[in-house]
């Protein structure tokens, strides 16, 4: 056994499940399969260097489920240990409890690794990335979620490149954010949404440019990387309020439907409104239900159902929502708004007004704070 000749960096890869590690069952339906991923990775030379592993006693040093990438351009070795969840989860089955578990696992291992990669199904990855961004307080290391549209066992797949890129970024570049890496782009996690169910280019962050592109070169847009300025110690706040929901407006929605959705025990709702934050202003009964809910303490956040854009209050139909006690979600995604609500409502030390204030603030780069003001200055005509 010889000493490593180049610096090693360690990454913890938490495999929660998802398409990347799925295999078809007997009826040809894709499902997660326990322990299959590490075995598969060990056979892929771009994701594991067995010669190096044996030469340096990798398994003795870090355990069986540890792998090592070939030497990188930065002349480093990324060592990564895979922690499989059991059972593996399809991301459609993810709940706030699962988010908390991931958070706890990161907290427990925070000091031992340079960065973290979370393997996750694509379906709810944007929700989990958003939730983790709020749960992780005073974060100083990269947490990179990734996955794939096609399982890594298939001949053509996007899993190899997504995993490789995520590991290199988590291990070598100190972007201290909860990120999402997909198809050679790095996004801020709480800005993402899955916008294409069938393409390798499945994610986008409609209201923020990517944090980095990783093609022939890795180019990080440091100007927009979020840095926590607090001096406090990293901690994961896993309390999440479950009584939250997402309701999309549609023409003809009735007061009865809104009332049913807002009923107890609901405490926080993201209302996906029309355009830049509009709702019917000619349905008093509907507005009455919204007002009744906010009066009894439900926080209702106004987000647009458009992929891109922000809510404002320049239309009569937007103003009535403000009057009904809703607060503006600005340019937050519904995914970020929902998990932020869940996080903020769990801050039981705060009263509702303090929680509302928190919802409006920019906590983790999830929204533009003062867009309205800036834009008004810039409007020309």
């Amino acid at each position: 056994v010889s000493s490593p000749s180049v610096p090693e960096v360690r990454v913890l890869a938490i495999n929660t499940g998802g398409t990347i590690g799925m295999t078809p069952d007997s009826q040809n339906v894709l499902a997660p399969k326990a322990n299959a991923l590490v075995k598969r990775l060990q056979k892929l030379p771009m994701l594991h260097d067995e010669v190096y592993a044996e030469k340096t006693g990798l398994y003795e040093r870090y355990g069986d489920k540890t792998l090592v990438l070939p030497k990188s351009k930065c002349n480093k070795r990324v060592i990564y240990s895979v922690q499989d969840y059991s059972p593996l989860l399809d991301s459609s089955n993810m709940t706030p409890e699962d988010w908390a578990r991931i958070g706890k696992d990161i907290e427990k291992n925070y000091e031992d690794y340079e960065g973290f990669v979370i393997l996750h199904g694509t379906d709810t990855m944007a929700y989990t990335a958003s939730a983790l961004s709020f749960m992780c307080e005073n974060l100083g290391k990269p947490i990179v979620l990734t996955g794939s549209q096609v399982p890594i066992y298939e001949l053509r797949n996007d899993g190899r490149d997504n995993l490789l890129g995520a590991l290199l970024i988590a291990g070598q570049f100190g972007v201290p954010e909860v990120c999402l890496y997909f198809y050679n782009k790095l996004y801020r996690g709480n800005r993402t949404t899955k916008f294409d169910s069938g393409s390798f280019d499945a994610f986008s962050s409609p209201n923020l440019a990517p944090l980095a592109t990783s093609e022939a070169d890795v180019t990080i847009n440091w100007d927009i990387v979020w840095r926590d300025t607090s001096m406090d110690k990293f901690r994961v706040s896993t309390e999440m309020n479950r009584n939250v929901g997402l309701l999309r407006l549609f023409p003809g929605i009735t007061a009865a439907t809104v009332k049913a959705f807002l009923q107890e025990p609901m405490e926080g709702v993201v209302l996906e409104t029309f355009g830049s934050g509009n709702a019917p202003d000619n349905q008093p009964d509907l507005l009455v239900e919204l007002k009744a809910a906010t009066d009894r303490g439900v926080i209702i956040v106004n987000c647009t159902q458009c992929l891109r854009g922000t809510v404002s209050m320049s239309y009569a139909t937007g103003k009535v929502l403000m009057d009904a006690g809703l607060i503006s979600g600005g340019d937050m995604t519904p995914e970020a708004s929902l998990s932020k609500l869940s996080y903020v409502l769990a801050k039981t030390g705060l009263d509702r007004d303090a929680q509302k204030k928190m919802m409006v603030e920019n906590l983790r780069g999830e929204k533009v704070t003062d867009l309205g003001g800036v834009k008004l200055q810039l409007r020309d005509s």
Copy 2:
């Protein structure tokens, strides 16, 4: 009064309201203003040729609220009469009754015009376009919805160009569809969604290429233009079932929330699922609620919450929804699915199974019929 020297074509422009004709009220909140639009248009030389109007006795021939475009490249004159709704509607306030009204107005005037332009707020324009596409049976003339992001009274605005382009297309090119025209592109109406709340380029049809681009030249993609092959007479079916809704899944959604949403009198629901049609398969109580609803006759259509893509059944988490009685929405938008449900459920002559069959069929180009089959053949790896 002299005779027109070039051919005239007539278009009916129904002004339902929306940003295009809005003006700021005393508190600087935008609101629709009655009768303001025609007056504004009369002063815009690219939208009205007063000299021609007077020379040819236009107002005597067609009434006060009629305007005429300057001569077009095709050497025609587009004459358009504006019918203002009263009160004008913010599109956030549109309901199925309003869709029906538009439909009736088209039906009434069908023989007298070459085509129809519907001025409409952008917020719910995609819903209305979808609804009209189903309501209009055996359509043989263009119906073009348009509007703007910035009111036409403002110095810089997109309303002038959107209206002008829509009028030229409705009057001169026989695209026999319900279309949506915006920022120099023509889309199939039931394929559209408002994807950007703040840009002039506000609409897209994620799963279908535009029907036409209209820049230096108008280029129509005739290969994909939908043509009704029926020999039956045009009619508008204005019966729409109001007991329909749109529910977006989110991680942590409870059976109680789903149950509350599905409760009577709900008869049809579009379920916006994760990715390519997935939902939790580890929450039996939630699946029980879905199954109970479909068992009592509620039609639940599985659509993806991704902007682009289609639902399929290749994941365990997708299969459970099929087992719970949901039907696949394929690559339909939620907007199209919802209005199609409303249309189909109003076909009281049909039983539920026939209605379900109709939901799965491609009625107006709103979905790809046999995508699954075609794609399976083409998959390589």
Copy 3:
């Protein structure tokens, strides 16, 4: 005559010619027509407010060919005087003498206006914008080039919106650069290229994000706006060396062709190479010709023929060009490189080495200075 009630800003609009003001001649071929533009503009209410003009004695104050925009969102009046070139020029006919004339006209009027709009044909607009950016030293006011794909006399055209947007930006926002405004985007002039001959969206700046977007709102990306830090007085350096050229490599190019192109009196050449700056390294006779030229003082700048990207020296086929005495153009466009050569070679007070150094430096934001270094640090693998 009453006093203006809102602040007025003055813009000089220099109409050099181009499609925007063209009309079809008797054979239906488009050609510029003298004095037609102002008359046309006076009839377009979004480009001229005749009531205001008369009320405030505009023509007495500023002359016949002065127009005034309606009041803008910023509550200002943009007054613009049109100076028509005679004869009007198709931009295909533009030469360095014409660039110098524009520069001189700006210099002469620099103190009297807030900003400048140059109406110009699209065909060579990127060349002229680049040239002006170098000729204008210590610039502190906006110079905005614009034009259109379709003449303003046509029913549907992009000229109205391009001119209106350019005037508002030149008059109201202090972007102290030579810019190009087209289809609602503001670009740095020396970064642009005409990349689409048939679309309204005709320009792009492939290696730099737009300086501003101007849709429902004007959003200026102040982070990348270039500011001249010199305290020196604005001046226009109109000396341009004419002995420059642009040569695109192609497979099979012969030494004879290269020699013929490089022959006297050529003093500076932009060589459009393959990929990231490559040329054949197995054609010694061709390299001999390049070396002979650089040896006798010809400056040859290596630019890529790809629309986007930069030249580097990491391939054997790139290194031979360095050995032959070429200098790297980095990520400059061919348009910017050519006009920069013309500008730098006219600095007769400098020797060739000083001129070469200037070519490599970033003078007006036309290139990234130290891209190589930065990127190498960031490369991961």
Copy 4:
């Protein structure tokens, strides 16, 4: 040795050189290295299945430099034999002789393989793809060019996926064209250009949609696939005229430069003009040189220097080129025009007029034949 259990298809992979197989030399400059590629591929499990190879006696059957892909989704085995050129070529060094060699190698092996993959440097791949498309007459099998931006020996690279995708398409889908495959898209070869020197997404075909996308699924756009309707036997016409060149117009270009470029032995020139085919019409000496050249039989093809678009004749500055004897290149790329010239001028059985006619015709889908006419009909205004 056991018999193959699934159908096998054979592909010939001709490795001409290029980045995909490069390794850094002692000075860290990238250069091709003989015989390195096959050895590298044998170690990549997605590109070679050694178990299958040994079990089925692959090397005995097809030779040492043969590899086999894992079983594909179509349930086939793609067997591919690699033929390395010696020396390997940087694509910057490619000449018409090299194109001919590739053509001859395809012709020789035409009957023995289902399809052909050409590994090629990216720098001139669009030129070679264009040339091959003309040289290959009556083609009935796929010829797919590919390569990579990053060498396959590097940790992160695009070579693995590009090669894998190209092999699967060449072996399994009968697209009977010379294609270019890059970053999950299949393009018609003679429509492509390298438009980004630094991105994995390096190619585009600006005037034609991709023939196929290959992400989670392979979707072939059969509507636009070109099919040779001739019943004649496949043949490769390797005669290429070398006396051709590419000249890009720039403002200030002199008659002397044009004359020097057009001098003997030049027989065909692609003139990259401004916008939709324009050149100065106020420089009689320059036009005289063009006219003199066409009069003595030089074919000059008018192509736009814009990435996208077509040449037309609607401007005075475009008309003069027609008068000078130039022919329109329509929407052909410069790369396609140049290699088509080289091909057509080598048809020594044809006189110049017949050759000119051929240049204007659509031979291999490289241009739209009758765009002008179609568009004129569609223009509205």
